[in-house]
Structures are given as C-alpha cells and as structure tokens.
Symmetry: none
Subunit: 218 residues, 4 copies
C-alpha cells in the first residue's frame, strides 16, 4: 500500500510536473502568437497558464530559454504533419503539392505558429537557425532523390541549396500574404497553381516576345 502509494505519488508528481511545464509551453506559444515575443512577458505567460510568476523559473531558466524551445518543438510538429499529409504522393510534383498544401493546413490548425516562426529569426535566432537547418536538410534530401530519379533537372548541390531557400521563402511569404487580420490563413487555389507551374515549366511563354518595357521594380 505504502509502496503503491509512493509509486503512485511519485508518478503523479512527475506527471504533474510535466503538465505544468506543458501548460507553460502552451501558454507561451499562444502568447507569442498573439502578442509577439516582445510582449510575451513572464506575467502574461504565467497568467495564461494560471500559475504564479515564480513558478515559471522552476521549469525554465530564463525567458529566452522557453523562447528557444518554441520553434524546435512546434517545428517538429509541423514536419510531422507535412510528412503525414504528403505520404501518399507519388511523383515529385505531387509530393511538392501535398507538402505545400500541408504547410498551410498546418497553419490553419496552429494559427500562432506563423508568428512564432517569423519572429524567431529576431528573438530566438539560434532556434531559428536550427529549424532552418532541419527544414533545408530534409528538403535537400528530397531534391537529391528526385534528381537521382531523373524527376528534376540534373542540378548540382550548389544549385539545389538556393533552390531550397527559394521554395521555403515562398511558403513563408505566401502565408504572410494570405493571413488575414484574425490570423487565419487562406491560400487561394491560384497561388497553388502558380507555385506548381513555376516549378514545372517556369514562366516563359513559348512564343517569341513582342518588345521589352521597364524592369521589375522600374
């Protein structure tokens, strides 16, 4: 009995501890998503978690520490979501489309992720670098594979890397562009089509041009 009680107690204690930590984490994610890192004060975070200020420091050494944890944890969830969504795709383009769409469906489910991701570059640069490393690494592997399979042009790794950045950049900016004031993202189909067409065929028409005007920012 006593043993059981102790065991149960210990378990409960660890569990409880994890629950508190999770509550803080979740609160931090929401608060950062709503107010941005800059206004994500310990007060706000602990209030949202229904805890006292001091409790925070039983679980995280500093404000920065929880900031640095946000992106890795949520980024992993994002990757898992995307993988799962894209798992059924066959061809290179199909996979691209599925994972492209999955990124946006993830944002729909976790509206605060976009802000956490964007602002991390400034407020959690280390975490941001790490996240990018993960993302680009995975993407590189995917492209190398497609290259090996002859699905995409035979490009060197030096070309593939900037390409990866382009594709990731694209997702981020489009998300920003199509997020409304309530933080809800709504990607138009045209954008998906355009993205895929760019990948598939580029932009140029097959017809000879008529004449040239001014430049892109001209």
């Amino acid at each position: 009995m006593a043993a059981m009680g102790r065991t149960a107690g210990k378990k409960t204690r660890v569990q409880r501890s994890e629950e508190v930590r999770d509550a803080l984490f979740q609160a931090a994610a929401e608060v950062v998503g709503e107010y941005g890192y800059i206004d994500a004060s310990i007060t706000r975070i602990t209030q949202r978690a229904n805890l006292a200020q001091g409790t925070f420091y039983n679980y995280f050494a500093s404000r920065q520490e929880i900031f640095d944890e946000l992106l890795p944890v949520l980024g992993a969830k994002m990757l898992a979501h995307i993988r799962q969504q894209a798992s059924g795709a066959k061809t290179f383009l199909e996979k691209e489309e599925q994972s492209f769409r999955a990124f946006f469906s993830f944002l729909k489910r976790m509206p605060y992720f976009l802000r956490i991701l964007n602002e991390a570059e400034i407020f959690a640069p280390k975490a941001h670098r790490q996240h990018f490393h993960n993302i680009t690494g995975g993407y590189m592997r995917f492209l190398r594979n497609a290259r090996k399979n002859g699905e995409i042009a035979n490009l060197g790794d030096e070309a593939l890397e900037p390409l990866v950045y382009m594709l990731i950049a694209t997702r981020g900016y489009l998300a920003l562009r199509y997020t409304d004031e309530n933080g809800v993202v709504n990607l138009p189909e045209e954008a998906v089509r355009m993205y895929l067409q760019l990948l598939a065929k580029g932009l140029l028409s097959r017809e000879p041009p008529v004449s040239a005007g001014s430049g892109p920012l001209g």
Copy 2:
C-alpha cells in the same frame, strides 16, 4: 554682397541642421543594422552620432518616428539603385537578372539594410507594409508588361500576385542565407543561375522519371 552673406549664413544654419538630422538618421540605420531595433536605444544612436541624448528629440518626436522613417528612405534608395542598374536590360529575363543582382549589390553597399528591412515587419509595421506595397506594385506592373509583350505566359493577375511574393521572398531569404557573420552578403553565381533557370524553364527534367522517394520535408 550683404545679401549673399546673409544667404550664406542662413544656409549654414539650415545646412547644419540637416547635417545633424542626417547624422542621427545614419547613426540609427547603422545601430539598427548592427544591434536590431530592439537594442537601438536613443543612447546608442546619439552616442554614435556624437550628440547628446536630448538632441535627438529636436529632430524626431520619438524613437518610433525615426524607426518608421528608416525603411521608406532606404527603400527608396534601394529602388533607385535597382532601377539604375537594370536600366540597360532588354528582355524580361535580362531585366530580372539585372535587378536581382542589383538587390544584392545594394546590400553590399548598405549591409545594414537587410536587417532594417527584415525587422521592420515587427518594429515598424506600417512602414513595412508601405514598402511592400511599393515593391509589389512595381513588380506587378513589370510582370503585366511582360505578359502584354508575350514574354511570359499569359497569367491572370490572381496568379501574378502570388508570383510576385515568391520572387520577393526569394531575394530576402537568399540574402539571409548568403550573409556571413560580418553582415557581408556574397551571392554565389550558382544561385543566380538557379533563380533564372527556375523562371525560364522550371525544374522538371524532360526525361521520364525513374521512381519516387519521400516528400520534400521527408
């Protein structure tokens, strides 16, 4: 002669005033470039400009005011630079290349611009929106023109807009990627080629694929 003297004297007064304002502006740009908006304190800015703290408030009503001025002013310089660099290009692709390269050569000349631009989204959101509006507007016009001339595929405006975001996003992320710890940007030629190839032909090989592996983030 007396008139000249007076004029000269008055000019000097106004001139000095402008010089001080410019010094503050320049100091702010550098400090924000180095430390980010968040750590760009009035103390730092005025110290760098060799002025007393109070002097700042003779020229700007608040810290936010100078923050809000940074991007518009420097953004205009960027546009001027790009236009000038791309002025000789003839075809759509040439213009894209020139202005693409010009963006990076501008960053070489003004290393602090990138950080000012990136962080403005958070710290000077109004200015950032305006800047984006300018940039995307110009880009749209350019693409419409190319479309009219038959240089690019006949896409609707609903497709053009996401495209613009993709292209701008690309520049920003590549700049980030190829900026070293000293803030110096160094874009490899491979990246330029890749960018242009994507625009010109897309990614797909003309050969039939062998098989498909995992997805892009897989």
Copy 3:
C-alpha cells in the same frame, strides 16, 4: 492547529503586504507634506519607505494613483476626528466651535495634511473635488438642520451654499496663516473668538458710526 498555522501564515503574507502598502502611503503623505506633490518623486517616496523603486509599482499603478488616494484617505480621518471631537456639543455654536477647533487639532496631529489638502486642488483635482463635495455636503446638512431648529436665521439653500464656502475657506486660510515654518499650526484663541463672534453677531457695532475712511484694500 494546522489550520491555525496556515491561517496565521497566510495572514502574515497578506499582513506584510498591507504593511508595505501602508509604509508607501505613509511615506508618500510625509514626502508630499514636506516637499509638495511636485517634488514627491518615486525615488523619494520609496527611499523614505526603505523600499526599492520598483516595489512602488507592485502597490500603485502610477504616481498619480497614490496622489489621488492621499486626500480621500486622510480626509476621511479628518472627518472622523472632527466628528468625534464635536460629538458632545449641544447648540449650533458649540458644535461650530468644537469642529472648528477639531480641524486645527487634527492638523497638529497630522502636520502634513494641510499641504496635501491645498495642493490637491492642482495635483489631484478629482480627489480634491470629491473631498470638497463631501465636506460641503456635510456642512450643508448641518446648517439646514440648524435652520430647521431655528438656531440660525431662516436662509435659503442658495444663501447657505456660499456660506458653507466661506466657513470652509476660513479654516483653510487660518490654518495657512498660523502654520509656522516647521509646519506646526498654532491657532490663537483670539482667532477662535473672532470666528465665533462673526457667526454669532457679525461685525457691526451697535453704536452709530462717526465717519468713513478709505475702503478695505485702500
């Protein structure tokens, strides 16, 4: 017992909190009394209370907030004191005398009250208005009562109101007049007599005048 202990512990926590708040309040009252609102900086107040500056903001949202609290709290004490002192009086004139004297004996006990009261008109206008409202309201009721009882002349409320202002004004100015450089008030008996005589009989002699000189400010 455990319950008692817990209760006691909790009490102590709350108690200490109240002690600190009181210490800040008391310090603020003294500092304002000595230096005036304008020079009652947070630094001075917290130093006098032996607390860190930041502690102030755990108890008051702003400097103005504590300023706004000074008069209501001390004003209530003044009223309590006066009521208590005047409780034994029977006739209208006795009551007037007792409460008149009580005002000054209160100032003896709380030398800083006078300055807090006077300057509140400028630095805590809302509180000052409220205080005046309280005071004049009570005075009006008192006078109406005396009127009903036939103790004083049968005057309309339109006459009573300015009268109330006259009587209150009198107290304030006499306090000012008879406060020395150390902030100690010392009302001469002659002043009390004069005050009561004015109320009782007015100024005029019952003899016919000889002749008239210049005016009051002549």
Copy 4:
C-alpha cells in the same frame, strides 16, 4: 538730424525692449492662466509671444523669475481696480460691498488672474506671501479705521488679523466656487447678500432654538 536720429533710435530700442518684455509677461500670464504654472513651459510662453525660446533669457534670468513677477504686477492692478471701484462708498458696509464686488468684476476682466493667484502659493510662494502681506495690510488699515470710527465692534488687532484672513479667504473660495469650466466667474446675488449679512448681523436667529442635531461635518 543725426543726433535726433540717434536719440529716436535709442528711444525706440528701449521702447522695443520694453515691448518685448511686456509681450513675454503677458504671454506668461495667459499661459499660466490657461495651463497652470506647471505646464507654462518656456516654449509655450515664447511661442505665444511670437519669440524664440532664447529671447526669454534676455529679459528674465529664469522661469521662476517671471513666475515671481506675475502676482505682484497683476496684484497691483487688482488693487488699483478695487480702489477705484470702491472709491465712492461711504459706510463700512458699502465699502465692503463695493470692494467685494470689485474683486469679482476684476476676475471677469482678467480671467487668468484667479489661477495665477491660487497656484502662486505653490509655485511662487515668495510672491504669494508678499501679495498677501500687501492685501492683508491694506485690509487691516481699513478695519482699524472702521473701528476708530465706531463702525465696527471694538476689536483688538489680534482679532482683526484673523478676521482679515477670513474675509480674503471667502473671496478666493467663492471665486473658485462660481467659476465655470470656461474660467468665467459668475457670482450670484445671494452670495453677496449672505456675505454682507454675515458681516452685519452674523448668523444666529433672534428666536430661541428648538433642538440640536449633529455637528457641521457630522
């Protein structure tokens, strides 16, 4: 001719100097009247006078200096006005009435005076003391005279002095009471009557009282 010119020039210069000084003084009076001493910044004062900030210090050694000058100068004007208005009165009570009314008619003409007067106690205490000394001195002489003439009761100077304070206090508070939010004073006739009745006969009814209620602030 040259001599005349020089003389004229010199005169003009002195005149001009005085004009500027007056303009600053007038501006200060208005600004203090509108915003209070605390918000009467050099910037505001000089702006209202259409002069540069620095010009102020050619005429006054400090902000405090002009503050200290406000009340003496305007106070003298007030006295002159009252004397003039009350010059025709014959009896003690007539003189009181006339000068009482004159105080309020002066405030009508110079709405900013009341605030300057009231706040001077805090922001120009020396000037305020001096002003009070002047006022009370004149009032004392007036009362002594009336006493000598047998117009008022035969009171000692020790009684007369508090009396003076009561009467002056009365004016100040009634002015405050009957000034509307636009700074316009409007004294009801009832207040004048009450004031004069108090002086003439006091408050008490000639009838025996019925019973006694609570005290004045009870």
